[in-house]
Subunit: 284 residues, 2 copies
């Protein structure tokens, strides 16, 4: 494929889409972000054609849920260890574009995060052997060996927090913004130490009834992220953790990792994604 | 108050109400069960009068969320240790009825379950020193000492399962009835051993994408109940566990406790509740 003519990169999720026009050197020329997730696309070839009409005839790589069994064309999971070469070999050719495959481990899957992981390595933002975490709805913790994803584990942290915030008995207490402070850190410490999340969460309700709890939203977030980190460090078991994603979220994980006495480096998720797409395209 | 004239007992929850007319010896003369939970009652004195019109002029004891800050009249929590005498002393007199107080521990609360716990002891269904568990939306594990609730812990097992079933990415996989079988037991073992619920739950999704998982609803239930039991046994730390509640649910916990090599005895929740109300009334 090559990148002499530049590239179009699309991070195509379930409910959102982000797309970039990249120059031959990987620099961003233009970008769009909209709600045209895979569940909202009536006609994928037409959506592809619209991107090409805007940005011209250049190679286009799609990643994320667009390659799932609910997306456009299924791009089968590549097993670990999965690096640039394995992802490039696993590309699924489609009409006017190619779809990056997801990655699977023994009983786990990712789709979209693999591009950020190998991109963080390709951009020199994390070592070729190290630990990484992508916080989010389904947080991913990965062990990187020789630049490839050697193993990973998914933790449902963001989804459980959202369920608790939207639908649970704790809902009214969880509406405030989450911030790093005493309540958050107290939650992190419990989450790291106890492994008793199902019970610790109810103390938020009980403490409110028994006289109040300061900043329950941050405390609940701390409990969940502390529990998440306790699990994740079993996978990302050596060296500083590369935290890849939205800065507001990676900052929470950095604070939690500090409680666990682990160093971390925060890496912008978009930067990692674009570096990953560029690296895969360059390998073709 | 005495019970020479019999008694009216009401288990008044948030969304449901159950009421019984009891003879002087505690035998059930009549019962109703309806959707008149505390959130649906426009006029508590009128609702009380309607019960009395049906069953005559006898003492009436109310338990459950009717005594909460969202109920009729708040009956403040009695601290542990709480037995028959403490609950009787904490009764909140209201117009035509008395409300049983809830019980609090350092950072936990119960309201309604305390009647079942002391009732199970009063009826001789569990020893005066032992361990008990009431499965449900918010499962309660309690340590009973000299017939009183000495300490307890709430685990949000039922609520989290319901949230996952109704609103999560696992929803479609969790609609089948839960039954004790290989998938359930495999989940219980993981829940007991790992303390990594937030990650273990996602394997249900991943395994479906990677080739299928048998009976995911039972497996998820097993993961949650196994995690619950691992926490609860820290409270209910000696002797057989008295499982009090709905027989379909106590059977699942009995199977999980067997995996944890702990004996259990299943006790019908209604029997325990009525014995508890009778015991409190008799202590007045």
């Amino acid at each position: 494929m090559g990148t002499n003519t530049g590239l179009i990169a699309v991070d195509w999720g379930t409910t959102n889409r982000r797309a970039w026009a990249l120059a031959a050197d990987g620099a961003v020329e233009d970008r769009i972000a909209d709600g045209l997730g895979i569940l909202s696309v009536p006609d994928f070839p037409a959506a592809i054609a619209a991107l090409r009409a805007r940005w011209g005839d250049r190679p286009m790589l799609l990643a994320g849920m667009v390659g799932s069994n609910r997306g456009w064309i299924e791009a089968p999971y590549v097993p670990c260890p999965a690096g640039i070469a394995e992802l490039a070999n696993g590309l699924m050719r489609a009409e006017g574009a190619a779809i990056v495959p997801g990655v699977c481990d023994i009983e786990d899957v990712m789709r979209g995060e693999e591009v950020q992981l190998i991109g963080a390595v390709a951009a020199g933002l994390m070592p070729r052997d190290g630990a990484a975490c992508l916080p989010g709805t389904h947080a991913k913790w990965a062990r990187i060996e020789d630049g490839a994803i050697a193993g990973f584990r998914t933790v449902m942290t963001g989804e459980i927090f959202a369920l608790l915030k939207q639908h649970s008995i704790l809902s009214a207490q969880l509406q405030a913004p989450v911030r790093v402070g005493d309540a958050f850190i107290e939650g992190v410490q419990r989450g790291l130490d106890e492994g008793e999340l199902l019970a610790d969460l109810f103390t938020i309700r009980a403490r409110a009834l028994l006289g109040g709890i300061d900043d329950p939203a941050s405390h609940a977030s701390g409990l969940l992220i502390g529990s998440d980190v306790a699990i994740g460090l079993g996978v990302a078991d050596d060296g500083p953790v590369a935290l890849i994603g939205d800065p507001a979220l990676t900052a929470l994980y950095a604070a939690a990792l500090e409680e666990a006495e682990r160093d971390s480096v925060q890496i912008d998720g978009e930067t990692a994604f674009l570096a990953g797409i560029h690296a895969i395209a360059s390998a073709l």
